[in-house]
Each structure stands twice: as C-alpha cells, then as structure tokens.
C-alpha cells in the first residue's frame, strides 16, 4: 500500500448518502421527449448535422464539432427530430441554449456501431479519435473533452493515472453505485486509458465511506497492477487538486494542470464510457444520475438517457412537490439550483437533489464578519477567505486578486463553516466575474487605443507625404527659378555692372537676332534650334506654372486673399504652357526638309538695322513682361505685408530682384534705342 498524504483544511458535512444507496441502479426508461443541448462540454458547441423531421437511429451523431475542443452529440434512442430550438439548459444562470428535441419512436433501434475490440493493434490516435467521436467528455465535473485530456502536452509524461472514485460531496452516490455494480467495466475502460498514456502507476481512489464499492473494485482489480487507494472521508478530497495531493504529495502548480507534475485524473464513469466506446462502439448517450433529497419518496440511482428532462426523473422517484423547496443539480456543496424541472440531464449531471425546506434551510441573514478565521482553517487551498471576502465586498479587486482569489476552487467549505452566514463563495464569484469583465474591458480599451493610434499615425504619415510632395514641387519650382536667374546672370555677365548687363542683354539680343538670321540662311539648323528653343520655353513655362501652382496651393491652405489673383495667374501660365506645347508640337511636325528660303540673301546695309529693329521690339516685350511680373509681385507683397504672412520677406526680395530686372530691361531698351538712333545717324 502506497503512502497517503493529506490536504489542509476540509470539512465533514453530513454525508446523507444512505438516502440513495438503498437500491440498485434502475433504468429510467425512455421519456416522451429528449432535449439534447448542443453544448454539454467545455469548448465550442456542436453544430447540428440533422434537419427537423429526420428519422435518426440510436447512437447516430446529431451534431458535430469542427474545432479542436468539443465533442459530438448523439441520439440517445431512435426517433424523429422534432425541433431545434432555444431551450433552458442546466446552467447556474438558468439560461437557454440551442437544443435538439428528439421524439423517441420507442423502438430503440441501434444505428451502426464500430467496436475496436483489437484496439491494442491500432494507432493511439485512432483510439483517441474513436473516444472523441463517441462524444465523451469528463463526467465527474466540468465536462472537458476526454480525448484532449488523454493527449497531454508532448513534454509531459503522465506517470500516474488516477481514477477518481472519491465522490466526496454529500448526497451523491452515482459513482459509488457504478463502482459497486460495474467495477469490471471501469477496469476495462481504465486499461484503455492506461494503454494510451502508458503510466507507471494506475490508482483508483475511493473514500473510506464506500466499503462496498471498495470491495467490488478491489475484486475487479485482482491480478492487475492497479492500486485501489482508500482515502479518508473529508470534503473536498475528490477535488482534482486535493486528490492529487492526497495520492502523490505533490501540488498541481498554480495555473497549471496535473499533467505538469506527471499526473492525470479521470472519473470512474468516464472510464466506463471510454470502455463502451472502444469495445462496443457505443457513443456516450446515457449516464448514471442520483435522484435524492427528502422531497422524493423513492430516491435512488438511475441509468438515464442524456436529454431526459428532470421532471421525468422526479416523477419516477415519486416527487412530493409540496415539500420541494430547493432543486439542486449536482451536490449540496458545489451544485446549482434549477429554476424549473423541464431541464434536460446532460453528460455532467451526476445528481439531482429535491430538498425540503428543513433539509437545506434558507440561509440566515448575513452577519458581519468577525474574522474568526474558521474559513481559513477549512480552506483546502490555503487561502485567506475572510480577507478575500473583505476586499471583494469593498470592490478592492486588485487586493482580492493579490490574495490568490483565482486559486479558489469554490468548494464552499468556507461558507459552510462561516458562523456569520456569509455566502463567501458568492462574493468570490462576484469578484472573479468583475475582474474578468474589467480585464475584457481593458483589452477592448487597449485595442481601441491601438486602433486610434494606428489611425493617427497613418494620418500623420499621409500628411507628411503630402508635405514632402509639396516641398518637392516647391524645390522644383525654385530650381526652375534658379535656372532662369542663372540664365539671366549669364546674360548679364557682371550683374553688379549694370552697363555690362545691359550690354550683355543687347549682345544676347543681337546674338539671337543673328541666330535667327542664320536660321533664315541655314533653315535646317534653324529648324533644330527652333525646336530646342521652344522646348526650353516650354520647360520654363512649365516650371513657372509649377511654381505658381505651389504658391496657389499655399495661398489656398493659408486662406489668403491672393488666391483669386494667383488662380488667374496660374490659368494664364497654363495657357502659356499650352501654347508653348502647341508651338513645340507644330515645330516638330513641320516638314524636316524645310523648303529653300525664298529670300535667302538680304542686302547687307539693311542687315544691321534689321538686326537691331526686332531686337528693340523684343527688349520692349521683355520689359513689359518684367513690369507685369513686378506688378504682380508687388501686389502679392502688399497683401502678404497686410496679412503679416511669413513669406513677406521672400516676396520683398523677389520684388526687389524684379525691380532690378525691370530697371535693367529699361536701361537695356534705352541703350538699344540709343544705339539704333546712333546707327540711323551713321547711315
């Protein structure tokens, strides 16, 4: 016999198990209607794969689960699908959920069954799949899908497999009766699980208040290596964490699972279901449920089809409805009250207590906590219940959490002993719920903030890109301007020396004239030069247009008054660009071999005058243009000064420059005229 350890705390409430162990397990039979919730397990709910009106056979799957966590739901007997509706399901809140309503035909005809008698020669995954397809979820507690539990994380070797037959809650005797009557089936199922897990130790733990079950299981284990461990009766020894501690002396780490320390617990009824799935190919469609309490005259254990309404079972147990005060699903320590009797039994329903008012009396009014510490003495998790209560009541949830609120298994031992009748567990559930809600809200808020920040960043990025583009445009415009100025200064070799500048301009005009004359002389080259010039003009016009456009954009952004004026200017420039483009196009399209000029030679004397005369016109045009620009600039400057705009300084400089240009053009013109007059005088 291996060593037993103990867990701290615990209580010894009246067991009341004798109520329902008086007679053998009875088959409850087939009720008129079965209500089959789509979610009878932890994980995703099953999805229906039958339609209303379908005839189904016993054991036929009615709903399947796609996700990794979840098991299918099967027809507990043959019949017809009557409806798929929202119906109250076993839940502390009394909520409704989707259920398949099955009208049994009374034939109880089995569908196909695929036993895996020779499972030892199969792949483990195949057996696990069979367990999943049989819809098996833990039948002792929360209903966790058994196939998933039987496949622990790869790095976790299960060395001890525990079959939990402690059944520590008062009143419940389902596992007790199963062990008494069906021990060989339990062992068969345990062997399948042991084959899957290959543990070093297999232990069946039974509380010492079930001598018949112990004897029966011992007999069934004879000749095997399975250990039957008789543990002292103390609530909650059947809690997974407590049972692990009793049998191994180890504690399941906080936030972990027993597999983390090489242990796994399975319920005895689950073992039977696994055995049936493997050896008979039968899915989980029935279970043993205790019906007890002083309000039923014929308490006992029933083999019930899943989906059987509670009312049907109570009727079978001869309910005295006048005496019924509280209807509990589960045990008196951790079960929950039902609001009605039209609720189906599901895979995890191990007990129904129909209690009278004297049996489970209405709670006394809550008195102040006197910090007596009884709760801490009985807490199996070594928590400080009274402190957690204090903080939960004050809604100081961070402090409650700091006291390891989430390690509370809600066994109810603290509430049971509280002399002030404080419903401690209810406070802890409240605090846990509030903390979960807060965390969910925090998550939501965090996500919203992230979303907002991402959007903000995107907007900023877009604005920055826009700004960069705008700057690029401005830079291009400035370059164009600079180029123009460079040309201008190239024209005026010595910008400081006005005369030289003028001379240069004149020279340039002369040169251009000469070029034109040359073009007349040599048309082919003229043609090329002309196209080049036009292209240059076009470029220049485009640069100007871009410049104007940039200015216009800026003005628009600033909401300046000059927008209209600038718009006009832009329009004008656009026209100019267009014209330039047209001209260029025309020039390019013009026939390459230009016809021989009609008058290639001009008289030499007139040549000079002819050279100067158009020059003068050109200079005049230049002057006009410069004056125009200056006026525009001046207007803009005035406006900028009036608005106190930032670009006033820039504009001032531009105006000054333009003014210089105008002056230069004027004096160049004057010079040209002077020369012309001198020429005329010479001739």
């Amino acid at each position: 016999m291996s060593k037993l350890w103990s867990f701290t705390g615990g209580i010894h409430p009246p067991e009341r198990k004798e109520l329902s162990t008086g007679r053998a397990i009875e088959n409850a039979g087939i009720p008129e209607q079965l209500i089959l919730p789509l979610q009878q397990h932890i994980g995703s709910p099953a999805e229906t794969i039958v339609a209303v009106g379908d005839k189904v056979l016993k054991g036929q799957p009615l709903a399947a689960v796609d996700g990794p966590v979840g098991v299918p739901v099967h027809a507990p007997t043959s019949g017809q699908i009557e409806a798929i509706i929202q119906h109250p399901v076993p839940h502390p809140s009394g909520m409704s959920d989707w259920c398949i309503l099955l009208r049994p035909d009374g034939e109880d005809t089995w569908g196909e069954r695929h036993p895996l008698e020779d499972y030892r020669n199969l792949d483990r995954e195949e057996v696990l799949a069979a367990i999943r397809n049989a819809g098996i979820a833990g039948m002792g507690g929360a209903g966790f899908p058994t196939n998933i539990k039987l496949r622990p994380p790869r790095d976790r070797k299960v060395s001890t497999l525990i079959l939990n037959g402690a059944e520590c809650e008062p009143y419940i005797t389902a596992d007790d009766m199963v062990m008494r009557e069906r021990a060989p089936e339990i062992i068969a199922g345990l062997k399948v699980m042991a084959w899957i897990l290959r543990p070093e130790r297999c232990v069946i733990a039974i509380e010492d208040n079930k001598p018949q079950a112990i004897a029966s299981v011992r007999a069934a284990c004879a000749g095997t290596q399975i250990e039957v461990m008789v543990i002292p009766t103390k609530y909650p020894s059947g809690g997974e964490k407590q049972l692990v501690q009793i049998l191994t002396g180890m504690e399941v780490p906080h936030g972990g699972i027993p597999a983390d320390i090489g242990v796994m617990c399975q319920n005895v009824s689950t073992a039977i279901a696994v055995g049936r799935a493997v050896f008979q190919g039968e899915p989980l469609i029935s279970r043993i449920t205790t019906v007890t309490g002083e309000a039923v005259s014929n308490p006992g254990n029933f083999e019930v089809l899943l989906g059987t309404p509670v009312s049907y079972l109570l009727e079978r147990s001869a309910l005295n409805s006048n005496r019924l005060n509280r209807l509990v699903m589960g045990g008196p320590m951790m079960g929950y009250t039902l609001q009605g009797t039209e609720i189906p039994l599901i895979k995890t329903s191990n007990c129904i207590i129909a209690a009278t008012a004297s049996e489970l009396p209405d709670p006394e009014p809550e008195q102040p906590c006197i910090r007596c510490g009884s709760c801490a003495e009985v807490c199996p998790m070594d928590l400080l219940p009274q402190q957690m209560f204090w903080h939960a009541k004050a809604e100081e949830f961070d402090k409650a959490e700091h006291l390891n609120l989430f390690d509370c298994i809600e066994c109810g031992a603290c509430s049971y002993v509280c002399p002030s009748s404080i419903p401690l567990v209810q406070y802890y559930r409240f605090a846990k719920g509030e903390i979960r809600t807060q965390q969910a809200e925090q998550l939501k808020a965090d996500r919203a903030r992230e979303r907002f920040e991402a959007r903000q960043a995107r907007l900023e990025r877009e604005a920055a890109e826009k700004e960069a583009k705008r700057k690029e445009r401005a830079r291009a415009a400035a370059e164009a301007q600079a180029r123009k100025q460079a040309e201008a200064s190239a024209a005026a070799a010595e910008p400081a020396d006005d005369r030289a500048a003028k001379a240069a301009m004149v020279q340039e005009a002369l040169a251009r004239k000469k070029a034109k004359a040359d073009a007349v002389a040599t048309p082919a080259s003229t043609e090329v030069a002309d196209v080049n010039a036009l292209r240059e003009q076009l470029d220049k016009a485009r640069g100007k247009l871009a410049n104007m456009q940039g200015m216009l954009d800026e003005a628009r952004a600033a909401g300046a008054d000059s927008v209209e004026k600038l718009e006009r200017a832009v329009a004008k420039n656009q026209e100019r660009v267009q014209r330039a483009e047209e001209a260029l196009a025309a020039a390019q399209e013009a026939p390459q071999p230009t016809p021989e000029p009609v008058a290639p030679v001009q008289s030499p004397p007139s040549q000079e005058a002819a050279q100067v005369m158009p020059d003068l016109a050109e200079l005049e045009a230049q002057l006009d243009k410069a004056r125009d620009k200056l006026a525009t600039m001046q207007g803009m400057l005035d406006e900028a000064l009036a608005n106190g705009a930032d670009n006033a300084e820039k504009l001032e400089r531009a105006v000054a420059k333009n003014r210089q240009r105008v002056e230069r053009a004027e004096s160049a013109l004057a010079e040209a005229r002077h020369q012309l007059e001198a020429q005329a005088a010479d001739q």
Partner: protein, 350 residues
C-alpha cells in the same frame, strides 16, 4: 412551485456567531467562579453591571445608527465585551469606573468604528486602558484582598455598598494592590523571601490568583477543544512571557518570578479570552504567532520596566495597531504556489 434560487454551497454548518459567543461566555464561568470564591462578590457584581451597561449602550447605539437592535444584540458580542471588562476590572472598583470603561468600549471602540467586525481595537481593552489612565488610584487600589468567600471576604451587601457608594470610603481593610504590583514595588527594598511573606502571596504563587488563572486556563482549553480559538495566539503569548522572564528576570530578588507572571494578574484571561478576540487579532497562523508573541513581549516589558502593574490592555492595543501590517506580510502559501505573496499589491502585479 416556488423554488429557492441560491448560490452554492447549499448545505451549511451549524455554527453561528451567537453560539460562538455563548461558548466564550460559558468558558469564562470557571474563572468567574474562582474569582468569586477567592475574592468575594466583587467580580460577579461587576460582570452583571458591565454586561447590563454594555447591552444598554449597544442598543442605544444601534438605535441611533438605525440598525436592527434585536438582530445585532443576539450575536452576544456586546455581552462578551461587558463580561470581559467585568472580569478584568478590580473587583471593588467604583461603579462609575466600570460604567465609563464599558461605555467607551461599546460606544467609542466598537460602534463608532462601524459596529461588530469593523473595530481595529479590542473594545474591552480600550475601555480598560481608558479608565486605567484616567482613574489610576481607583484602578490600582481596589483589588480585593484574597479571602475565601465563605470565610473572610466582605459580605455581598458590603461589596455592593462599596461599589455603589457615592464617595470612596476607606475600605483598606479588604482592598489593595495586586501581587504583581506589590512584588514589583517591594522588591526594590526587600529580598524575594521577605516579599513573599506577605499574605497576598499565600502558600503557592499568589494566593487565590493561581486558582483564578488555572480556571481561565481550563476555560481557554475548552475553547481550543471546541475550535473556537486556535492555539497560536495563547501559546505564542505565554511562550514569549516565559522566554522574556527566563532571559531577563531570572533573579527573583530583582524581578517578579515567572510563576508570578503566568499565574498572577490577568495572564490567562488575557491569553485565551482577550488576545484571541478575532476581530482585532491577526488572521493567518503565522500572523497569529507574531501577534501573540508581540503581546507576550510587551506584557513582560511593561510589567517589569513600566509604571503599570499589569499590561495586558496596553500590549493588546499596541499589537492591534500592528495587525494590518502583520496581515499583509504573513499570508499562508497557497496550494500550488512556490511561496506566499506578501505585501500590498502593486499596479504591476496581476
């Protein structure tokens, strides 16, 4: 069919606060009996007076605070406060001293803090300390001289008139200081054997007192057996007194001996009935050990080097101050955790 909707657990134990308090009251009876037998009617009259005043004060305060009176009175906690004061005040203390002690205990220390469960300080000891510093003469000279009830103790009528007389008549014939007090004052000028010749020490440790303490010890063991209190606080407190006495006061010609510390004065009453008041004590086992030991150390320090003859009240109150701190740093290690989570939660901790 109206079914009850109730959160689990559905089963409840039989223990209730009023029953717990009733057991506390019952457990003091051996001590009260011993007090009466060895010191006369004084304590019994005091207990009745104090309980009556306590119940009246509690009712009045509940009425003022608009709380259900019967509901709270039946928890028996006010009666226990009165009872503990009646047991610990000098047997022949004038009635108004007792009344002031009880009123301040119930009104100041308990109800003004929010009533049962909300008081940081032990109410009975607040009342006791208040009258001790306010009326030091009445509080230190009214201890009855030991005298068996059926032999030398004053009659019931004499006791009653002493307690309720308008002015403090000379009752020196049967009042005086406690053995602890007189030992401390006489040892400065006498040897231990000379001091112990005084009749108040009797043949044993301290005439009468040893029986009273033994009786309270019996009552305390009853509470332990009933699991109404745990062993941590009384044991830590008695152990601390013993260790302090053996370490610092082993010379009987200078300091009161250990036997006197344990069996004279209010040591056992304090260890099992006063320091164990759950509302104002530390909560975890480790915390209770620290709390009890702290009281024991302070009791010895004040008795030996302080100005007051006994020190339970001050020691308990001082340790009451420390309870929130102790509680924060002595939580048990929860199942599945590597170590206990001490201290106060910070924002970062989940």
């Amino acid at each position: 069919m109206a079914l009850i909707q109730q959160s689990s657990p559905h089963a409840r134990g039989a223990r209730s606060t009023s029953r717990v308090m009733l057991w506390v009251i019952l457990a003091t009876l051996p001590g009260l009996l011993a007090q009466t037998l060895f010191f006369g009617w004084g304590n019994l009259i005091n207990v009745i007076l104090c309980v009556a005043v306590a119940l009246a004060a509690e009712s009045a305060m509940l009425a003022i605070r608009k709380r259900p009176i019967a509901f709270f009175l039946k928890d028996n906690t006010a009666a226990v406060t009165g009872l503990l004061l009646g047991l610990s005040l000098p047997p022949l203390a004038p009635w108004w001293v007792s009344a002031v002690a009880v009123l301040s205990a119930v009104i100041l220390a308990k109800q003004l803090y929010g009533g049962l469960g909300s008081n940081p300080f032990n109410p009975a000891m607040v009342g006791y300390a208040l009258v001790l510093v306010s009326f030091p003469v009445a509080m230190t000279t009214n201890w009855a001289q030991p005298g068996l009830l059926w032999e030398s103790a004053p009659s019931f009528g004499d006791t009653l008139s002493t307690i309720f007389s308008a002015q403090q008549t000379a009752v020196d014939a049967f009042t005086g200081a406690t053995p602890l007090d007189s030992y401390k004052h006489q040892i400065a000028t006498h040897t231990a054997s000379e001091v112990l010749k005084s009749p108040i020490f009797g043949d044993g440790v301290a005439h009468g007192w040893e029986w009273v303490n033994a009786a309270f010890l019996v009552g305390g063991l009853l509470l332990l057996a009933l699991r109404i209190i745990t062993w941590h606080i009384p044991l830590a407190m008695l152990a601390a007194i013993s260790i302090m006495s053996l370490a610092f006061g082993s010379d009987a010609d200078q300091y009161a001996p250990l036997s006197l510390h344990l069996l004279a004065g209010a040591t056992m009453l304090g260890a099992f009935f006063i320091a164990t008041d759950p509302v104002s004590a530390a909560t975890s086992h480790q915390g209770k050990l620290i709390y009890g030991a702290g009281i024991g150390i302070l009791v010895y320090l004040i008795r030996t080097w302080g100005n007051y003859p006994d020190a339970i009240a001050f020691s308990v109150l001082l340790m009451n101050f420390a309870v929130p701190f102790i509680d924060h740093y002595t939580p048990p290690r929860t199942y599945g955790h590597h170590k206990a989570r001490r201290g106060i939660p910070t924002r970062n901790q989940g």
